[in-house]
Amino acid sequence: MNVPRFTLIDDGRATELDASIDGAVLLSDDAVQAALGWEVTEDGLCREGLCMPAPRPVAGANGIDLGTLAEALGRPLALDVDERVAWLGVGAVERARALRALTAPDFALRDLDGRVHRLSEHRGKKVLLVVWASW
């Protein structure tokens, strides 16, 4: 059977992979590692030599449950089963920790000429960050 691919987007970075959908979205170990960089082991979730325990088993007999994995990572998951796509966002704890530290989160965005600017290029100056819209 030819199953269409599933797209998993890690905060903007999309990876196409195989998934089986049976109520939950189940992924293979390799797919999780390709999309997110995490290895799911008996000790929990490991990346770059560091492991953290998962609150409950993420991997079952049929694969890794995407919803449980997102929970274990403390990340919000937006999922569209019909469209076979999911977006993993950044969790409130991580965002709040960064804001509390008062270091202005860095970003890279384009101007109308396509030139990319980073906030951090302006160290040494006072910056008024103005978020606006035409609406």
Partner: protein, 197 residues
Amino acid sequence: MYDELGERGFTPITVAVDRSDEDARPWIEAARPTHPSLIDPWHVVADLYNAVNVPTDVWIDERGRIVRPNDVGFGTDTFRSLTGIDSGKRLAALRAWISGAVPALPDDRVRALQTLPTDRDQTARAEFALGRWLWEHGRTAAAARHWDLAGNLAPHDFMIRRGTMPLRGIDPMGPEFRKMFAAWTGAGEPYYRPLAS
């Protein structure tokens, strides 16, 4: 203000949370800015800074530290009758900080003024972003479903609720916006949330 104070080591960076370059272009070109004027169709900065409406200002010092968190940032009094916000006072405070006449707020005061995102806020942002991805891929009905979910999770997030109106083909100044605004303010909720100090 930039022309007046830019020499003293100050720059504005503007970030347009718009559907496309074309939506933001007329405003940017009319202003002929010499400072970075950026486009943010994916709400990257809104997500990083927990910005839920426009205009939002953040003051960042020479070391890259937030010294005044998200505040309503009107540069003029065009909307004063609607918002009750006096831009003159804010601009005077900004000028005093930039010139060094008045020191920045201490860290604990900045933290006390911050509003931090909740799990629901961040789930709403993930739903927004999934919707945006679906929209980019031509799946507009599915996109709208996720923006509705996002709006229900974070009804105070007008970056999502109003900001997706152009993507859905809805006039963001029109009757649907006025209805949303009336329902929100009618329930006693503020559309703009200026800082207390």
